[in-house]
Amino acid sequence: MTNMAVTCTDVSKRYGNRMALNGLTLEIPSGGIVGILGPNGSGKSTLFRTLMGITRPDSGNISVLGSVPGWETNAKIAYLPDRARWYADHTVRKALDWGSSLLPNFDRSRALALAHEMNLDLGQSVNGMSRGTEARLMLILCLARQVPLMILDEPFFGIDLISREKIIDALVASATEQETTVLLSTHEISDTESLFDYAVFLRAGRVERQGNADSLRSQYGSMRDIMRNLFQEEVTSQ
């Protein structure tokens, strides 16, 4: 049996009368860059929060790195949430110091090297960062950790092309250097789809299609084609 990074069996989560996850069943093999794709409201962020144990599902089973989500598995996961909070008096350097004192397996010298590569000004205050700067800082806090699983929720959202290229370069470098499974959700599919070696397409809280990305490509075409075919109504109505 292949090692699974994530297994979900019939997972459901209801918010009011909306099913954020609706009988979601999923198996993600270890290693590689995994695209978690789907229109807004398809359950990507909710899935990530349940993997982090932040949100408890109403029913179903979840296994992350072979265990039930909780503080023990979280020590092995670098999570980039869909929104961030910073300490108002922090500079970029202080935020990285905070990371190295609080985040398990955080490599401070790697964080500083990444900040240099990605042109982050260490003296800059986190207050009033541009979206691109904030996204780079959030990503560094993830990439500087030596962990078996990274969960990146929309790391490119609202980010200019140059920052996006820097982030992709850093992500690829990090995936080359360490054995990590990277789960990545994104709307910027045209920039990123060649990155994936596994892809999961979600719709209305369920898995619509999943598999090895090269197999999906030979069977259905590009990731963008698959998105278009599966989610035509949702995508055009956005």
């Binding site: 690829v172 080359t176 060649s194 990155l195 070696d197 090269d214 490509r217 030979s218 084609d225």
Partner: protein, 134 residues
Amino acid sequence: MHLEQRDVGSFRFLLDLSQPIYEQIVQQLSGAIARGDLDLGAKIPSVRELAQGLRAAPNTVVHAYQELEREGLIETRRGQGTFVTTSATVIHEFRAKLAQTLLNQFLQQMERLGFSPDDVRHLLREYPKEGDRT
């Protein structure tokens, strides 16, 4: 079909995002070696450089390099990088194998049109020589 051009060093890749990326890396690199665009013993991009340049998953590049190594077309020297083979014989044999594959494909297509290999031989003899073509 939508092709994306991606340059890695002096090397130009054309990626078709609707086809498996692994196969495209293998075909384009082995093609460049067979054509002689890459010299014997030339250094080729590291896994990281190629993955960054193509924006491809490092695993995919690793698998493509493993396939090229199995073919004997490239070799990885510990701590130094990855290089095109220094053996002209290996490349010669690979070219012969490629030629055979293309020939087989061509003959199969001709056969579907009703031409036997002997018919094809005859057609080739009649085919204008390079200097005679306009």
